[in-house]
């Protein structure tokens, strides 16, 4: 399976990449929502996208909304991975089309358990 990690923090992208790679994911990265949309337009669609909320250029919520409007990207499972932790923010993300929501900070186990919730645990 393929995953796209979208976060403006290089360190956070690396942390998530390492966890996903232990599960056998092939991981690509983008530093903001627009860069991620450009990747989606030019490469095969990933199975899973992990999306920070606050990013320059195009934020995570805008990215989710854009992906949900694209019929060709409908199969991508979208998980927000963010420090935003208020109930109404989680509701907004789910309403925009996110499938899951993981709040930073998180443990590697917590990310893997979210993959279980999504039925995307491969290893």
């Amino acid at each position: 399976m393929q995953a796209l990690v979208i976060d403006d923090s290089r360190a956070m992208r690396l942390i998530i990449r390492r966890i996903l790679e232990t599960e056998g994911f092939e991981v690509s990265e983008a530093g903001d929502g627009q860069e991620a949309l450009n990747l989606l337009a030019s490469q095969p669609k990933p199975d899973l996208a992990l999306i920070d909320w606050n990013m320059p250029v195009l934020d995570g919520l805008e990215f989710v909304s854009a992906v949900r409007k694209d019929p060709d990207a409908r199969q991508i499972t979208l998980m927000m991975v963010t420090t935003e932790n208020e109930a109404d923010q989680i509701v907004r993300a789910l309403a925009a089309g996110a499938h899951e929501y993981l709040i930073k900070p998180f443990t590697p186990d917590a990310l893997l358990e979210k993959l279980d919730v999504l039925g995307m645990r491969t290893a």
């Binding site: 932790n85 208020e86 109930a87 989680i90 509701v91 993300a93 789910l94 996110a98 899951e100 929501y101 993981l102 709040i103 900070p105 998180f106 443990t107 186990d109 917590a110 358990e113 979210k114 279980d116 919730v117």
Partner: protein, 275 residues
């Protein structure tokens, strides 16, 4: 510092007597990881100092050691399959047979409450689709500290991240300080009670479903057998028993048979009773 053999022997004998938990050689890491924080908390230099105070008869420390050795990591909807089976198969099946519209479920080693509240969320979803049903969820544990946590139903952000789908979080929890608390609707379903599985059970109402997961592994075979025989007397004749994914009644109890018809492995009372 690794635990000395004499201290390991003392602690393993102590927890075997107090909680019927078996710690064979090779489990030194478990004692070190569970009791080193307790030793620090008590201002003791190492595990030898902790054992010395235990030998002196410090009853509060004895209780704290039992708490530390029996408190287990847990998460919401652990293993998922039992909860899926509950909503898709077991609750609909019970609903056809329970004319009084009440269902009792026992979480028999509830730890900090993630299991009973996962059950409660499953039941709440069932009630939304089938109004008029009532659920009584009994949450028991040997640890008073864990029972207090279960009753409070408050969870840190890190705990909430573990296994709880975001849809369930926003539907069943509210913010409480920096963490979250289960809504009153869930808390009203859950009753907590102290219970040591290794001792004779107090009088309990007949249960329709028992969750006894990831706890038998800590006991020796004789204690497992005694626990399962007691559970068989509490479980309704048409009830359901869930064990942990690495646990089984096979070769331990003749009172149950594995039910392989559903999507999750569970056990049913053997019809005609014990053979």
């Amino acid at each position: 510092m690794p635990i000395a053999t004499v201290d390991f022997d003392y602690i393993s004998n102590f927890v075997r007597q107090r909680a019927a938990i078996v710690l064979e050689p090779g489990k030194e890491y478990l004692i070190e990881s569970r009791l080193a924080p307790l030793a620090r908390e008590q201002g003791l230099s190492d595990l030898s100092a902790l054992v010395a105070r235990m030998r002196a008869g410090d009853e509060r420390l004895h209780s704290a050691v039992v708490e530390a050795m029996t408190t287990n990591e847990t998460l919401f909807f652990r293993d998922q399959a039992p909860f899926r089976a509950m909503s898709e198969e077991i609750l609909p099946a019970l609903a056809e047979r329970r004319l009084l519209k009440r269902i009792r479920i026992w979480s028999a080693a509830c730890s900090s409450g993630q299991e009973p509240y996962s059950i409660a969320m499953t039941c709440a979803d069932f009630v939304d689709a089938h109004p008029g049903w009532g659920f009584e969820i009994l949450a028991t544990d040997i640890s008073e500290e864990m029972l207090a946590r279960t009753a409070a139903a408050r969870y840190s952000q890190l705990e909430i991240n573990r296994g709880l789908p975001a849809t369930h979080l926003v539907r069943h929890f509210k913010r409480a300080g920096t963490g979250w608390q289960a809504e009153d609707r869930l808390r009203a379903m859950v009753t907590v009670q102290a219970l040591n599985l290794a001792r004779p059970f107090p009088d309990l109402p007949t249960q329709d479903v028992v969750f006894l997961r990831n706890v038998l592994i800590y006991f020796d075979v004789a204690t497992r057998r005694a626990i399962l025989e007691q559970v068989s007397r509490v479980l309704a004749p048409d009830g359901y028993l869930f064990l942990g994914s690495a646990e089984t009644t096979t070769f331990i109890s003749e009172s149950f048979e594995r039910d392989t018809t559903g999507s999750a492995a569970c056990y049913r009372p053997r019809q005609g009773g014990q053979k």
